[in-house]
């Protein structure tokens, strides 16, 4: 393991550990409003100050990290499984299936994502708890985010379909389902891993985009998206540099995710 990957691994683990220990590190909680001290600068009581309605920013970052880091990989897993099924199968079957799948994924990719997300979000029931809303948000992201990965996977699966070992296995009398699940899918593993790791930051950023529009995770639950919204209207960074912490954390974690990819996965 290269030193960069080791460092990335340490960073991701440290961030995960801190977010998991949020209850202990930030006992004030993410929702409590200290109304006598809105937009307060960092102090002994509030390490990173408070937000506009007096909530402890450090606590919100820790809890927001927990949510984004837990649910973005879950959404990535959903989208990668869908991509493997659609793209992998179409690539393996080839012919009309491949053409159909590509046409479908192209159509899906051409849809205006953001408007689609806004529409789907607006159709959801209103009276759901913040926790349910965050689960729904990431599930929607996972269900809508498979198309790009499916396109990559269909190309890789198509190459595998014409490879010598698949031809030989087919000649030996192996049937399609066994061929696909036992021989094709395992050989797509590097591509699947790469797509999985790449999807995580994409979903974090997507949720952040929705959050910036006010359509992400429901209040009072924090997420990186809602934390980044605080930067809206920030005219001078010099006045309140501590407000940049969520952005820095996002950059550090996303960079670490990229560094965690192996050479093989990067090539894939």
């Amino acid at each position: 393991m290269s030193s960069a990957r080791t460092l990335a691994c340490v960073v991701v683990l440290a961030v995960c550990a801190m977010s998991l220990g949020a209850n202990w590190l930030a006992p004030a909680g993410y929702a409590q409003q200290f109304r006598e001290a809105p937009s307060a600068p960092p102090s002994h009581k509030h390490l990173l100050g408070t937000d506009e309605i007096g909530r402890d920013r450090f606590a919100r970052i820790l809890y927001g990290t927990r949510i984004s880091l837990l649910l973005a990989p879950a959404a990535a897993l959903v989208s990668t499984v869908l991509a493997a099924l659609v793209g992998g199968l179409a690539g393996y079957l080839g012919g009309i299936w491949l053409r159909l799948a590509r046409a479908f994924t192209d159509l899906f990719l051409s849809l205006p994502w953001l408007f689609l997300l806004i529409t789907v979000r607006a159709l959801l029931p209103l009276n759901v708890s913040p926790l349910t809303s965050v689960l729904i948000t990431f599930l929607i992201l996972g269900l809508l985010g498979w198309a790009a990965s499916a396109r990559v996977l269909s190309t890789s699966a198509e190459a595998l379909r014409n490879s010598d070992f698949i031809l030989q296995a087919r000649a030996s009398g192996l049937r399609d389902p066994r061929l696909f699940f036992v021989h094709v899918l395992p050989n797509l593993k590097p591509v699947l891993y790469a797509q999985f790791w790449i999807s995580i930051p994409v979903f974090i950023l997507s949720e952040a985009n929705l959050g910036i529009l006010g359509l992400g995770v429901a209040e009072p639950l924090p997420s990186w998206g809602s934390l980044l919204r605080e930067l809206e209207g920030l005219i001078s960074f010099r006045e309140e540099p501590w407000r940049l912490v969520p952005l820095l954390l996002l950059i550090v974690v996303l960079t670490s995710f990229q560094l965690l990819l192996s050479n093989e996965e990067v090539t894939a």
Partner: protein, 548 residues
């Protein structure tokens, strides 16, 4: 002798210098280009069809009106009309027009233009929202040209506050081939780059002069950049690229006030209010037990008492807002019912009210008499930070009573669809941007049959006694021209609104604006257009004029 000569020379020098100063002072008042932003593309330049903020601003700057409501004093002042008279029955108004006025294209102004404008305004095919305010009853509105400088307009039924409505009526030319491009206001549209900017140039034929006989406006032009992003607008103002911001938020106001105190203006409580309401519609797709809560006066009053409005004003608006009292802001000097006070924060009293309705606390959660946990959602528009913060603070306030509130932010079209078409919501929070001082502007909210009777719209007959009483009072105030009787009726409407709390008024934001030090003569007020209501008298300093 010598001394006398020196004295004469001195006198001559003083005279020359005085003349030079006088001429430079006159020069200092003329010319230059004022710059500020519109937040969206104007939908129309036709003054009759104006329905959006951007078009409203253009109409204000380019349109000539018969009478104008002074944005500072709230008094009505003569403009194109020298005088006017409303008949005793309140059905007719007669205007005496000024002489020698021409439109920007040189065509003369006369009573024919007023009649033509009224005819267009009341044309049912045009669906003019400005014209809607004049629809007093069944029947046609007729205009009679008495003389080139005199015109009377007759309405089928009495219209209360009739003369004030003409503040919004920009007179169009009956004969000019340029139609809406021929204007009587201080500026005229010279250039329009769709989606980018508008250039208004001085109307060379504008009729008004200042006290020293100089023709107004002082400015050569106004450039209006179309910029929807408020943050970009504020950055450009800080960089000196813009001269005015009509409405700024409290965060930016405080930052600007800290760095450049002279540029930030707080004109006090505005007419705008923030409020929430519960869905009481009989056909709304919500559970019956929740409809019963929302229809209970005790429940609504308890929610109102459990909201800490002082905290909302202080935290969300940084102190630049006043706790909301009712449908009329205290800034509306004549119509506000001064007996009313904002609902004080009293969570104990709120709990008592709820207990009177059979609600009870159990393990920190509130339940109704049927055993249903009290939980509801508040919808508001996504991206409106003060409203989102307000909702979260209400969530915490009501949480102290054991009520669970889910805050849902939706994009604006989805929100409007839910609250005005599908009625699929429980509680909603929005703001009311009031541009009309007269209560007639609120008829479409308070009448139980109205579409905008938000909590239970389009009722065939009033479903509650208090709504029937409001209907009666609103119609009574609209059908008399006696200001005292009208005030009495509308005061009572405000009292019923406070007793029944169909709308829970939260705050009246202050009118916050920014005016660059390059601009002289600005006197920001609370009424639209806050910073440029006296645009014809605004001037720029010589350095700015030279650079533009």
């Amino acid at each position: 002798m010598m001394g006398r000569r020196v004295f004469l020379r001195l006198l001559l020098s003083v005279a020359v210098v005085s003349l030079a100063l006088a001429s430079s002072s006159a020069f200092a008042q003329n010319g230059g280009e004022l710059r500020f932003c519109l937040h969206s593309e104007p939908k129309t330049f036709d003054p009759v069809l104006v329905d959006d903020d951007a078009s409203l601003s253009i109409r204000y700057l380019t349109g000539g009106v018969l009478v104008r409501s002074n944005r500072r004093t709230q008094e009505l002042e003569p403009e194109l009309a020298e005088s006017w008279k409303v008949s005793n029955d309140g059905k007719q108004i007669t205007f005496k027009l000024r002489h020698g006025i021409t439109f920007s294209d040189g065509s003369p102004f006369s009573s024919e233009d007023v009649a033509f404008t009224m005819q267009r305004l009341m044309d049912p095919a045009l669906h003019s929202s400005t014209g809607d305010a004049f629809r007093s009853g069944n029947g046609a509105v007729s205009s009679k040209i008495i003389a080139p400088d005199q015109v009377s307009i007759t309405f089928p039924a009495p219209l209360a506050g009739l003369e004030r409505l003409f503040d919004q009526v920009a007179i169009m030319s009956a004969h000019s081939p340029k139609k809406e491009a021929a204007v009587l206001g201080p500026f005229m549209v010279a250039e329009h780059k769709a989606g980018s900017s508008l250039l208004l140039r001085r109307n060379p034929n504008y009729w008004k002069k200042d006290s020293q006989g100089r023709r107004l406006p002082y400015l050569d032009s106004i450039r209006l950049d179309i910029q929807s992003n408020r943050d970009v607008e504020m950055l450009r103002f800080k960089r000196g690229e813009l001269d005015l911001i009509n409405v700024i938020d409290s965060d930016f106001f405080d930052r600007l006030a800290a760095s450049s105190p002279g540029l930030a203006h707080d004109a006090g409580a505005s007419l705008d209010s923030e409020f929430m309401w519960f869905n009481q519609g009989a056909s709304a797709p919500i559970p019956e037990y929740k409809r019963a809560w929302f229809r209970s006066t005790n429940f609504r009053r308890a929610i109102s008492q459990a909201i800490n409005r002082d905290d909302l004003s202080r935290v969300v608006y940084n102190g630049h807002a006043q706790p909301g009292v009712g449908p009329v802001s205290p800034a509306n000097k004549f119509w506000f019912n001064s007996k009313l006070k904002a609902e004080p924060y009293r969570p104990d009293a709120a709990l008592q009210r709820l207990q009177a309705d059979g609600f009870h606390l159990q393990n920190g959660s509130l339940f109704d008499k049927g055993g249903n946990a009290v939980e509801f959602s508040i919808v508001t528009n996504a991206g409106h930070k003060p409203r989102e913060r307000t909702a979260v603070m209400i969530q915490q306030d009501l949480g102290k009573l054991g009520i669970k509130v889910n805050v849902v932010t939706l994009d604006f079209p989805s929100l409007i669809e839910r609250i005005s078409q599908k009625f699929n919501y429980e509680a909603a929070m929005l703001g009311f941007r009031n541009v009309d001082l007269d209560p007639n502007g609120q008829m479409n909210i308070w009448l139980s049959s109205a579409e905008n009777h938000a909590w239970n719209p389009q009722q065939k007959s009033p479903e509650t006694a208090w709504e029937a009483e409001i209907d009666r009072l609103m119609r009574a105030q609209a059908s008399t021209t006696d200001p005292k009787k009208r005030k009495e009726s509308f005061d009572r409407v405000q009292e019923i609104a406070a007793e029944q709390a169909p709308f829970i008024y939260l705050v009246n934001q202050n009118a916050l604006s920014a005016v660059s030090s390059t601009v002289a003569g600005a006197n920001p007020g609370i009424l639209h257009p806050q910073t440029f209501w006296n645009a014809e008298r605004l001037t720029l300093n010589p350095t700015t004029r030279a650079s533009r």
